[in-house]
Amino acid sequence: MSKTLFDKVWDAHVVRKIEGGPDVLFIDRHLIHEVTSPVAFLGLKNRGTKVLYPNRTFATADHNTPTINQDKPVADPLSANQLKALEANAKEHGISHWGLGHQKNGIVHVVGPEYGITQPGATIVCGDSHTSTHGAFGAIAFGIGTSEVEMVLSTQCIMQPKPKKMRINVNGKLGLGVTPKDVALFIISQLTTSGATGYFVEYAGDVFENMTMEGRMTVCNLSIEMGARGGMIAPDETTINYVKGREFTPKGEAWDKALAYYKTLKTDEGAVFDKELTFDGFSIEPMITYGTNPGMGMGISHDIPDASQVEGGVATYEKSLNYMGFHEGDAMIGKPVDFVFVGSCTNGRIEDFRAFTSLVKGKHKADNVTAWLVPGSHIVEAQIKEEGLLDILHEAGFELRQPGCSACLAMNDDKVPAGKYAVSTSNRNFEGRQGPGSRTMLASPLVAAAAAVTGKVTDPRTLIEELV
């Protein structure tokens, strides 16, 4: 029988099916961080159990960590306590721990792929909803809650009903200044934040085939923002070239075996999806969000729609615009910007910094803008330096911070103050996400760059046209 990519990977990991209930799914690799793991370890202790396969779990500290002076002790005692707990738990159970200051430290969904923890056809979970990132490699990857973190630690399995399947095709050529982030924000704006709830998505079509791994990760990362548990893209040459030779990638004979498996990982002709959608890549513009959920996005040159044109309750819509201080019919271009954040597991990779730098090169940061440029990992940080991007950034008046989640969820000191506007390359514009009272507009690194040098929301295409 024809199978989808998702079926193949899922079915290969089912230990047992329960009548009228979930499947018992084996998890190949488990990522943990300081925020969602301590209570899970406490649970293990209370039950008197150990971690079943310590070499299948990897710990990194990212959510809470400062992005300056990482060599100094962490000032916030609560954050310091969580970081210490992660270290102690990892040590007690024999789990690799990449804490603050460690060479391999970084955002969990950035370092996983960098070190080859992420492999095609694997099942990967983490107590963070953007685990969907790893689906870019043709893995089944999704976020879990702390009870499930405990399940995976103690049994390497979780119990999940098999989700429905959706395929989203985007074909055609992307226009000038349109990045993978725009493709994802566009899809979410079409589906709304609940449009893919209950589904696992496969992205197909030449737009994704032509993307780099970094771009595919950005797209899969945002799957959760339309309610999907995860999203995946079939592995191809690009994928295999990326994973080959990385530290935790299988080697020697094991690699040959793995490669043979990877080559089977595609949706068979005639396989059936519960839902299928197709979009035209050429119709996608650089995107920006105007509201308080990632589904409230539109092409940057458009005006904020009337409540009558959007799905959902008028009261909720008005509450959202009120929070943002925006009105129906407003143009987004020209809106004030106080902060620019480039980073997170959505857009904190080398390609994102290349894009940002390409646009600010030879220009200068606007005086009214505070910019936080936060690489996703030390590898990204080193690459920024090696490729000469840092010099260009410095000349343009920007500083680079140290790796971590930073203003994506504002658990550390990188908080956007109440009432201030931020253009952010991260993934959530929820009320208060970037600090109590903060107002977030989600966009690509190019839109962030355009805002950073002009001090207001600006269509990046106007600046690119200046360049060429």
Partner: protein, 198 residues
């Protein structure tokens, strides 16, 4: 950890008719710094509930004494966003044992089931009826009957059935959790792990 058993819950309910309530609203990230599972109820809906100076916001439903009960009734797409189980802990710790909505985000629903809070998905029409009934009389009671899988507006007897898979239902009725089950099949899991490519 085993949790409270759930059978029949009869209670007044607290209405929150807002759509797309995300887990950053249920519990903002800055309250996720604990290493134990205690005290999250105080920060449930923190920024909707309190002003920056920590005085209660009078217009928020949890600060309105006419509403109370063990059931929270939310708008469509409740619990979207972050996977933080802390959101479910906060709901539980505040004293809710069931959340009713016409649509739940996946991970939040799972997290609730894993800690013994029952997510009850009703039709949009029934959700509207519940909101209207509470609006008309804040003391109106709902009955959630897990064995029968029904939710009833006691004042009028209007009733709807809801879905839950039989495995999770059994867990909720008995206060079992998944880890108890998974540990009982550890032999199978270990044999399975042997055969995997990595």
């Amino acid at each position: 950890m085993a949790y409270d058993k759930f059978n029949i819950l009869t209670s007044t309910a607290v209405p929150l008719p807002i759509e797309n309530v995300d887990t950053d609203q249920i519990i903002p990230a800055r309250f996720l710094k604990a290493t134990e599972r205690v005290g999250f109820g105080d920060n449930l809906f923190r920024d909707w509930r309190y002003n920056p100076d920590n005085t209660p916001k009078q217009d928020f439903v949890l600060n309105n004494p006419i509403y109370s009960g063990k059931i929270l009734v939310g708008g469509k797409n409740f619990g979207s966003g972050s996977s933080r189980e802390h959101a479910a802990w906060a709901v539980y710790d505040y004293g809710f044992r069931a959340v009713v909505s016409s649509f739940f985000a996946d991970i939040f629903k799972n997290n609730c089931l894993n800690i013994g809070v029952l997510p009850v998905q009703v039709s949009p029409e029934f959700a509207d009826k519940i909101f209207a009934a509470i609006h008309a009389d804040p003391k109106t009671e709902l009955e959630i009957n897990l064995p029968e899988q029904t939710i009833t507006l006691l004042a009028t007897g209007e009733k709807e059935t809801f879905e839950i898979n039989s495995y999770k239902k059994n867990n909720m009725l008995n206060g079992f959790d998944d880890i108890d089950y998974l540990q009982s099949i550890k032999g199978d899991i270990e044999a399975f792990a042997e055969k995997l490519p990595f």
